[in-house]
Amino acid sequence: MINVAQKTDIDPVSLSVFENKLNFISREMGIVMLRSSRSPIFNQSHDFSCYLTDAAGHLISQADGVPIHTGGGGFAVERLIEYWGNDIRDGDVFLLNDPYVAGGNHLPDFTVIMPVFHDGQLLAFACSRAHQVDIGGGVAGTYNPLAREIFQEGIRIPPVKIYDRDEFKHDVVNLVTLNTRFPEMVAADLQSMVGAVKVGGTRIREMADQFGVAEFGNFCVGVLDYAERIVRKEVEAIPDGVYRGRDFMTNDGISKREIDICVEITVEGSDIKVDFTGTSPQIESYKNSSYTNTCSAVYLAFATLLGGRIPLNSGSYRMITVKAPLGSLVNPVAPAPVTFCTHHPTYEIVHACWRAFEDVMPNLVSAGWGKPCHPVTFGRRPDTNELFVMFHMAAQPGGGAMAVRDGFDQIGQLQSLGAITIPNLELYEQIYPVRFLRHEFRCDSAGAGEYRGGAGVEYSVQFLTPTRHNLRGEGVGAQTGFGVVHGTSGARGEVVAQAGDGEIGALEDFGVAELAPGVLTVRSSGGGGWGDPKRRSRELVEADIRAGIISQEVAHAVYGYDG
């Protein structure tokens, strides 16, 4: 008999049913949130995750969620247990967000956690982590490029009770929502999060009835051990060795300078050590990464290298040790600001891990995804003078190529693996005082390769009112979608603005720009290519020329096309 659960004697049939059921529960929690939430960040962008941990805070299922939350949810529950110890009771619901003391990833992501008791025994925690529409701080919309300390990024919440033994804590929730610009929406979304964890709790108790309260913990151990065993087998297939990868940011949000993210990955048997020694020290602005986010980005990189098909719990990451030097960009000391970490340096961490394996596992690595360079725009509606905040989701870059496919032409960002979808611009014209002029692929933006990178777009929008733009990307300063295995990099991005009939001026990808009514154009960056472009089939090169994705000149010069 195969020894399935080494520390327990659970049979493999029951364990299979148990593990599957957990994943359905976390998915069901996500559906409840998606359907009932108010803010577009939840329900349009799906920027949240629902997950379950065992009684000790080990992540036992995260079947639903944005990829950059991968594996990071357990940290919050562990901190919660440290804080509240024996004062965690049936009917309590907790809220937290702080990355330094509460296991959060960044302040905009609130985490709601409910301990699940049955017959007086603590079985599990049902959790929901979601990006709020606003958390106070220096600017509306949760991302403050001017923050130099976390205090300017928004309200910091250690693990607090928002329900104390089923009693709703109005005072605590009011304190939190009063510190945001949209208290009603935040309150409504918190309700939606509480709804989700309550559904999770009900389902966990049903499972305990089915599998036995006393056995529940053993099953959780079995689920985690199983995941560990599966992934260790995959890791064993990677040759032992020390592999190095690097990517960099081109600005710290204040000035142009290269900021390094370096990894040294040691594979030994089925163990992986990821060491960030050599990474730049923490910076003044909000592109530092909290330790939780750093770990999630590493897990995300490995999950994609392994084809994305690994169990959805923290057992899958037990063999990975992350060493992030304190005071570095990837494990900063408080009160460094960190809000932008789910974008940058997430791209850079994932890219660095991928690059480390370019030589040893070329068929599994992806070329770099183009980095976004579009701003966030603030303005006032001409009719009501009401403030609006607009994310230019349709100015996304192209994705990186892999050995099995071209990169995705314009696709949602890497931290979501494209899960955050691109809105219809007809809808945006109904919501914002804007008129779109263009949204089309950008010729010669895709990195060349046997498999080419994804094309970026040319995106032009006319603002009918004065606007202010928080420039916050990375795609302008360098080619960001690097090529692999002799593929070339995708084009760098460009951001230009024209007020009225005035001059067209190029903008950087950091800082703030004020614009009189006029046109903003983003030429988004392209994804990197995989493999030697000269090996790309003639038929595909001709199709790309005909489609206007690549020019004749590039076809000749880079692909060696002789037609």
């Binding site: 599957n20 559906i31 939430s37 409504a188 099995v404 032409d409 494209g418 779109f436 089309e440 777009v457």
Partner: protein, 694 residues
């Protein structure tokens, strides 16, 4: 007229149900023929031929006495699945020709990082643009220059395409530019299929509208050609009435109407299940049923709630999106052919891959090597070796035992039957878990729902699934395996149209909206009348999509016509209550937004009266035989009664554990289950609180 006919052309079989209104008993007869590709019309005439022979008349005599013929067509579906549609050109607004390819970045499974998007149905060099623009309020910002339009038609003519899709920016607000382009195309290229987004569905969203117009163009030429020819064939052989075609929305239309919008037939086949589900909801006296149609590779799920089947505004096939209202059909990836194996971590897994019908389960003797759910059922004595497809196929039980033993039981270190029980147990859990997710998405409390088994493979699993989920009961119709062809005879003619609004409820231009509704109703009335439906059989209803301001997901709520302040206020009340029921909270003071209003124009057809099962001997027969079967609740094998469906009479009850064998399906009654034969010969199954999950 003596006969009503429903025909469902499926991937493997063409099913026909014929209702003989003059027959004394056994009014409803069922026939199957193999589907024929590339010309499915051959299969249709084959199955008509079997029916006519069985009635001892000619096909001409059968058709000439037929007053209703409903047809489910998979032609459009097959075109999509096989990717063999027309060569299509697209006309888009200058600057916006790539929305089709960007496809909003939607990927089915984000973790499946190596999987590319489906191939573009229109390559970029066939995506033409026109300098024109409609603004966000429907105003003309730039009118198209007539010379540009003519040049565009020249280019398209030169490109040598079979169909053209037109989708211009903001055309859902003002269709004049699309109409001008369409007019020029139709005038100059009368042989080419023209598909216009605002004619099909004037809804907001350039991606979904473009994709709809393109899919319509892609499937159009083949679908229209096939349907016209089939209808000519049927009429030529005596059919006096116009055949009606099933649409994805579960309603019928005539061929002329469908020919302008063949995209509406892409999910034609399974959509007829909606009417069958509603019909059996009625015969079983349940307003709320979950229709569970299990075949070899998957289960199609449909839900009726308060005698209504849910619909979806946007649906997709093979990753291509269509904004036409469709019956809300969900698929669970477990079927009889689903494969069981031990995974790399040593756990027993069932699915998601399936042996399908080729090579099929090991027991089919068609070369399948891997044990499947069907093999496990056979080993457990739940499926008889000679009961498959009316006994025309004898199953290989020894092969099934050997495969389960070698590949599952031995590595797990457990007994053969224990391994087979485990396979069925995990498969049943997969089904129950998937139903739980579906219930969460639709806000259903499954305890209020009856599980209706359809398809050949459901009968062995519904008992366990129902018990696990605590559902209200089970209903297994005798015609379960040909549900869709029966459903065809239960359907009405239905036309729907959606009006995009997207305004806070308090700011809706009520008169303007009511005018738009009246326009749609008037147009539909004309078409329904042309279909031969008098005005007293016509009706219209409206459904509003409402949400709290800021939400993205809306809830469909009926609105009384005409649209007035009061009818919208009444809809708002229903919305708050529904939101409470679905999501356990509401905001009675929260501002609402009206997303859209769907107008359904219905032409009532004469409904099929379910034939009662009468005229049979009322002397109840005993069980047909005994068989050894295995259950989780017994360590030892259990001798169970096996009943023949044809022997049973209305009112008879059978207690589990037992198996009832019908011609094309087997029904497992577990311990604690009691089946009662109803007046239609169908089985209503109740479960005692005790009993056991299998």
């Amino acid at each position: 007229m003596r006969f009503s006919i429903g025909i469902d052309v499926g991937g493997t079989f063409t099913d026909l149900s014929v209702l003989d209104h003059e027959a004394v008993n056994d009014q409803l007869k069922i026939f199957k023929a193999l589907s024929t590709l590339p010309d499915p019309a051959v299969g249709v005439f084959d199955v008509l031929d079997s029916a006519a022979r069985s009635l001892a008349i000619s096909v001409e005599a059968l058709l000439s006495q037929t007053g209703f013929l409903g047809l489910g067509s998979t032609v459009a579906t097959n075109v999509m699945v096989e990717g063999r549609g027309a060569k299509v050109a697209l006309i888009a607004t200058e600057g916006f020709r790539d929305s089709l390819a960007i496809r909003r970045g939607i990927r089915q499974d984000v973790w499946d990082i190596g999987k590319p998007h489906p191939t573009e149905l229109v390559p970029r060099w066939l995506r033409f643009t026109l300098a024109e623009r409609i603004g966000a309020s429907g105003e003309v910002i730039k009118a198209p220059c007539p010379a540009d339009v003519e040049r565009l038609v020249d280019d398209i003519e030169a490109a040598g395409v079979e169909a053209v899709a037109v989708c211009l920016y903001n055309s859902y607000l003002n269709d004049t530019h699309e109409a001008a382009v369409a007019q020029a195309l139709r005038r100059r290229l009368p042989e080419i299929f023209i598909s216009v987004s605002s004619e099909l569905m004037p809804v907001i969203g350039e991606y979904e509208r473009t994709s709809t117009a393109v899919v319509n163009a892609y499937v159009g030429p083949k679908t229209v050609h096939y349907l016209r020819r089939l209808c000519e064939g049927l009429t030529g052989r005596g059919l006096p009435c116009e055949p009606l075609i099933m649409q994805s929305n579960g309603g019928l239309v005539n061929v002329a109407m469908l020919s302008t919008a063949p995209v509406r037939a892409v999910l034609s086949g399974p959509a007829a299940g909606a009417s069958a589900a509603l019909g059996w909801a009625e015969t079983s006296n349940n307003d709320n049923v979950v229709f569970f149609d299990m075949g070899g590779t998957s289960i199609d799920i449909l839900v009726t709630q308060n005698k209504k089947v849910g619909s979806k505004a946007v649906t997709d096939i093979e990753g291509y999106h269509m904004a036409v209202p469709s019956i809300d059909i969900r698929t669970i990836g477990t079927g009889g052919g689903t494969i069981a194996r031990i995974d790399k971590g040593g756990l027993l897994r069932v699915g998601p891959d399936s042996a399908g019908s080729t090579p099929g389960p090991v027991s089919y003797r068609k070369g399948g090597q891997l044990p499947t759910v069907t093999d496990a059922n056979l080993v457990l004595g739940r499926l008889g070796i000679d009961t498959f497809l009316s006994g025309s196929m004898v199953l290989d039980i020894e092969g099934a035992r050997a495969a389960i033993d070698a590949r599952l039981a031995t590595p797990l270190g457990i007994g053969l039957e224990q391994a087979a029980l485990s396979v069925v147990h995990i498969a049943n859990n997969n089904m129950a878990n998937s139903l739980t997710i579906l219930a969460a998405e639709s806000g259903l409390d499954l305890r209020d729902y009856t599980l209706v088994a359809a398809g050949g493979a459901s009968g062995l699993h519904v008992s366990a699934v129902c018990r696990m989920l605590g559902m209200a009961g089970i209903y297994v119709p005798r015609q379960a395996s040909v549900a869709c062809s029966v459903g065809m005879m239960q359907s009405d003619v239905l036309q729907d149209q959606v009006i995009s609004v997207i305004r806070p409820l308090g700011e809706v231009d009520i008169d303007g909206l009511q005018n738009a509704v009246e326009d749609i109703v008037a147009r539909s009335r004309e078409q329904l009348t042309r279909t031969g439906l008098p005005e007293d059989r016509q009706s219209a209803e409206a459904v509003a999509e409402l949400r709290y301001v800021g939400q993205v997901w809306s809830i469909p709520v009926p609105v009384a016509l005409p649209v007035t302040c009061a009818s919208l206020a009444a809809a708002a009340e229903i919305f708050h209550a529904q939101h409470q029921e679905l999501y356990h909270h509401q905001h009675p003071d929260g501002p609402l937004e009206l997303v859209s209003l769907q107008v359904n124009s219905i032409g009532k057809l004469t409904k099929l009266e379910w034939p009662r099962r009468e005229g049979f001997s009322d002397a109840a027969a005993g069980p047909h035989k005994n068989r050894t079967a295995w259950f989780e609740w017994s360590r030892t094998p259990v001798e169970i009664d096996v009943w023949k469906g044809d022997d049973l009479v209305p009112g008879q009850t059978i207690a589990g554990p037992a198996v009832i064998e019908e011609a094309t399906t087997s029904i497992l009654l577990d311990r604690g289950d009691t089946a009662t034969v109803d007046g239609f010969g169908n089985y209503a199954i109740k479960q005692s609180k005790k009993g056991s999950a299998a």
